[in-house]
Point group: C2
Chain length 545, copies 2
């Protein structure tokens, strides 16, 4: 033992577990009367939000829910959803946020697999939850949230209503940080497009570091007015419930993503920041320009969840939105790669700048490493912008593993890297650019076609609202690209027009042989469900002209 260890051990004064719970305590202590939440006519301060979280922790603890227990929630972006991000871990329990679009079968699977000891459910989703609960061997404690802002149908199904649950609890509950910062804080099931969902277990240390990283990466100023366009059930809202508390900002709640509601919130509450998948930004961008009336301040937007088409980046630029492009996965707490801008990009043309910004970028400030490796050797690919490899991560903003799934966990961490399953290249400046999910690459006559490259070209057509390109079986080439396109309202384009548009900008073998028009199937987080499109074309054969 060196002299720097001897007698210099950890003690309660110099070592405390890292946990994002401390951020709400700090906000409440220093800015008690600042707004924490806006929801319809409801206004909360940080003092009140902290009290609500402590009440929730106390109420859970009173019912014996604590360390190692799971609390599942099925909630839109409402105040209770912010409470649970603090109150559940304050009780020592693990927060499992359920996707609100899940069916009863998937919910039942997650409640059983995650061993939920309690369920908190919004009345909007009570019917599907009731169905899910009916299939469980043991019914957990069920708490209804009856949001005054929700006027739709749905019965209370639980043992107690959420506000009563809080009312009867201790607002000064003496919560403790976790005994170990490696303890789980969240359980997030990946909305796997095939197979059983996997339960991603994330810990206090990682949540803390990524919450801070969000501030540095954006960068997010003190006291932002943050609009909840991104579902909090998705990777804990990319850690933003904790990030907004760390900066003592305002959470502007939003039960559903709707262009008119979003523009009204931006105008009325002077929203400064919001996050979302490309589909959300396109919705905002292509909304009736009349909705923008009265918005004169600058808005900062963060995009991830799918590669944003350069045309979208240019469009936001045009309406004066500052865009930060980030990339990540549930397994790395949401975004943990950022397309950090260089000052000299500002001097470039809009198109060139958008192309640079459309790249996924570099590691988050507090993530240790992200790179692209050869899948066989696990050595980094050359930074030539061409050699495709797998995007891999190493660092503290990486999950503990998959719950009760040692095989998947081991595979995910093969060779000392977390394997994203996404394919990309390293550009000469070290920035990563995604080429595709492994399974989305189209292989035509032995040549790889990046579906994203073809989609980017389609998005540049003025009539295109959304586009997805998948492989279509082809008797000669093996596969050829097939495009699914959703047009903007009141816009028109023919199949031949779009094919011609692509031919002008792409090599012949990359041009879609077929274009199919219609609304695209999307997940609740705005990801286009390519697996469904792929199924549609599975039985089809392209006939070469």
């Amino acid at each position: 033992m060196s002299m720097f260890e001897n007698g210099l051990e950890k003690n309660p004064a110099n070592y405390v577990a890292l946990t994002p719970i401390t951020f709400i305590e700090r906000a409440a202590a220093i800015h008690p009367e600042r707004l924490s939440v806006i929801h319809g006519t409801l206004r909360l301060t940080w003092r009140q939000s902290y009290e609500r979280a402590r009440r929730l922790a106390s109420a859970l603890a009173k019912r014996g829910i604590g360390h190692g227990d799971t609390v599942a929630v099925m909630l839109p972006n409402i105040p209770a959803m912010i409470d649970v991000h603090f109150g559940v871990p304050m009780a020592g329990a693990v927060l499992n946020t359920l996707n609100t679009r899940l069916d009863a079968c998937a919910i039942a699977y997650m409640l059983e697999h995650g061993e939920a000891a309690a369920v908190i459910v919004d009345r909007e989703f009570s019917a599907v939850m009731q169905e899910a609960l009916a299939g469980l061997p043991k019914r957990p404690l069920v708490i209804d949230v009856d949001d005054p802002e929700f006027n739709g149908p749905g019965e209370r199904i639980g043992d107690i209503e959420y506000e009563s649950f809080l009312a009867d609890a201790n607002p000064e509950y003496a919560w403790m940080p976790p005994a170990d910062e490696w303890n789980a804080i969240g359980l997030n099931y990946t909305s796997g497009t095939t197979g059983l969902p996997k339960g991603v277990v994330v810990h206090h240390r990682g949540a803390y570091l990524n919450a801070v990283s969000n501030i540095l990466a954006w960068p997010l100023p003190r006291h932002p007015v943050y609009l909840w366009t991104l579902p909090m059930f998705h990777c804990n809202g990319w850690c933003f419930p904790w990030t907004v508390a760390a900066q003592a900002g305002v959470n502007v709640c939003l039960r559903r993503v709707d262009a008119a509601l979003i523009w009204a919130a931006i105008r009325d509450y002077r929203v400064t920041h919001y996050c979302g998948a490309p589909i959300v930004h396109n919705l905002i961008l292509h909304a009736d320009p009349a909705m923008r009336a009265g918005v004169t301040h600058r808005v900062s937007a963060m995009v991830a969840g799918a590669a944003p088409p350069p045309a979208m980046i240019e469009g936001l630029d045009r309406i004066g939105f500052e865009l930060v492009h980030v990339y990540g996965l549930t397994e790395v707490y949401g975004p943990t790669v950022v397309c950090e801008p260089h000052e000299d990009w500002a001097t470039l043309g809009a198109g060139e700048r958008a192309a640079l910004n459309a790249r996924q970028g570099v590691r988050y400030p507090l993530q240790e490493c992200v790179t692209v490796v050869d899948p066989e050797t696990l050595q980094p690919v050359p930074a030539d912008g061409e050699t495709i490899g797998e995007i891999v991560f190493r660092g503290n903003i990486t999950m503990k593993g998959y719950l009760k799934n040692p095989d998947a966990t081991q595979a995910a961490f093969k060779g000392g890297w977390f394997h994203s399953g996404d394919l990309g290249v390293l550009c000469p400046d070290g920035y990563i650019k995604i080429k595709d999910r492994s399974k989305d690459i189209i292989i035509s006559g032995g040549e790889n076609i990046s579906s994203i490259e073809v989609e980017d070209v389609l998005y540049r057509h003025p009539a295109v609202m959304a586009a997805a390109v998948v492989a279509m079986p082809h008797d000669k080439w093996g596969e050829t690209p097939c495009a699914f396109v959703e047009l903007k309202a009141q816009a028109h384009a023919t199949e031949q027009e779009l094919i011609e548009h692509c031919r002008r900008q792409l090599a012949g073998f990359k041009v879609p042989r077929v274009v199919i028009f219609g609304e695209l199937p999307k997940t609740s987080t705005g990801k286009i469900q390519k697996f469904e499109l792929r199924q549609r074309v599975r039985s089809t054969q392209a006939i070469d002209p």
Copy 2:
């Protein structure tokens, strides 16, 4: 073991030791061609700075210096001083920065106590270092820094010159993060005003967290132009060598604190940020206004090291400097308390705002706790702004302890708190205000007099440049306040005038009985050495009028 632990252990992909070394790697990877250092005519980029640090680590490793070894440095704020903050820990060694004003006896004590394996010394300090080395039982490896910007006297005394040491080393040295983030990164001797200096041991985890906290607390934007007015030997420059790397900023070096040099640097390099003790800010503020010519941009200043007089805060406000007031000690990595402003303070008058800003404030964003406790019960004092207690800390930005000094370590951590030895009050809004060091309180007729309160009044007199108030023995009252005052150049004031000035604003028993004019003795970090003043008055007796 709960299901959230089972099979979900740490592995190399999801757990990496926190260390601020990673910040220079990131800056070099993402912004390789951005300026990292300006020093006279020298310009370095982050790619070059990272290479230099790796060369240094490689050269040290080649000589067998690594884990558990100490590398002592005696350097002004020059490029080598930035290198060592990365290169020494990259080698696994511990950086011991020596105060450049120390005498040979103190240096010899620290080199021996800290068991320095190598010493890096600037030619300016080679004479005193030579003298110190002569007294050591075993001479360490000695490396001379011969800075081209230094034209003064001083011989090379070492085995090799620093640039040659680097030249012969590996610029791609494969450094490793520490095996444990609790490993020591720094050894900083407190310039104790009495007794033997104590060796404060700080670790990678704390340095990492405080480097990030500096960004959040200021807040410091990306790519700041940071002027090195604060000595890097003082608590590792409050962690700013790591902070500036984390934001890929520019380090503007400065061999000595001089008003003309500072204003020239602010103008020529468009300096955006600097730190310093109140004395440094006063020097800048009271410099010949002609020096300010050409400075039109906004400058942000951080002040700590001693309580800033409200008059100084107002003065900086007047010349358009934004001031952030922080507070800390060597034991907590420099500042870890910040007077975080509230938006509504902006609507107050300058005097009222300065009074609020003169308070030490609240915990740093990533420090877990700071409060004021009753020294007997260790319970927080009431937040009444009046009850005096000791300022104590708990959290990750707190030292490991004092090197080879278990008694002092145990005393410092008594009852699960780090004890600062500073006395303060909790204001009703939770902000801390320092009243004094325990030993600086003046007890007159059983009443406590805060020397800071009396000094603040003296600073409001237009002729006063610096003021210090200490206890003077008094046969009737035990002690009474005695003021030492340094006047501004070309300014005049008599003892009677200053006493009258105090009488108008203070209760009678707080008014200094005696005012002594002359230059005040200061430490190299600008702290006024009250112990010396106290010695001067020890034999004196005040005679009551």
